[in-house]
Amino acid sequence: MAADRAEQLPDDGPAWWDHEAGPVVRPYMVTGGRVEPQTADLDLITHVVAVSSLAEETPSPEHQAILALTQEPRPVAEVAARVDLPLGVVRVLLCDLLSAGMVARYDPPPTDDLPDIDTLQAVIHGLRAL
């Protein structure tokens, strides 16, 4: 079916997928249609890290991919980029793992508080040294 649709792609611009792309599934299929994460406050730079290694009861291949990736701490944006799923989908899956206790989160500083002077100076020095 996917191949049929590929045939019909208009010629205006390069197609981002083709016959070799395999089956194309609408993104929220992997969340069972859930679009709202249970906790909606996972920032792009909130770091997540797997607490346990791959558990047998891990719900899906996508969850497993996230667990494998977060064996070291990674920001949410990077998890989404590396598992190649939309951000919203990854947030839902991460919330599953968080509530199952399989993943821990580390949040960036509270909203809209600019960093302190020491941190800013460290950033400036670090950038100069690049």
Binding site: R26, P27, Y28, V35, D43, L44, I45, H47, V49, V51, E72, P73, P75, A77, E78, A80, A81, R82, P86, L87, G88, V89, G101, A104, R105, Y106, P108, P109, P110, T111, D112, D113, L114, P115, D116, I117, T119, L120, Q121, A122, V123, I124, G126, L127, R128, L130
Partner: protein, 196 residues
Amino acid sequence: MDSVRSDAAPPQALKILIAGGFGAGKTTMVGAVSEISPLRTEEVLTTAGMETDDTTGVSEKLTTTVAMDFGRITISPSLVLYLFGTPGQNRFWFLWDELATGALGAVVIADTRRLADSFAAIDYFEQRGTPFVVAVNCFDSEQQYTEVQVREALDLDGHVPVLLCDARDRTSVKNVLITLVEHVLVRVRAAVPAGS
């Protein structure tokens, strides 16, 4: 979190936004200083709720994909900077809100051939109170306008730094980021009461 090994604690993460019109050089700028190839995060927007339950004859595209490219600069083992290129189109403002929340500051890339493309970003950061600098991207090394001319054309407040840059050049982009963080530092210092 006590269930996690202490050596797994992630560094403090800071976020800088790279904004500007379509084709202004956002991803190029991220790539010029990032220690990793810029990664692409995508958000799928659906028109859920706007469609009826009748799916017959639905052939229109119901989803839009918005891409945000980002890169990383490790300042120290305990401090990491993330650079996020913002989606270019104005209709994705709500994504900007999420990006801007908690951001250290922003770089607005201005293309002098299309200065008006950067108006929206400048307005946005001014209204939100996010510290920002304007980086005029010189695509060919000859630059027809001075900082002063660009500042006037953009009607910027006097305290907003404007500088010329080459988004492809690592040193130039580094300089833009340093200018931004120094700008933020001035603001934070001003907010701290003397003697404290």
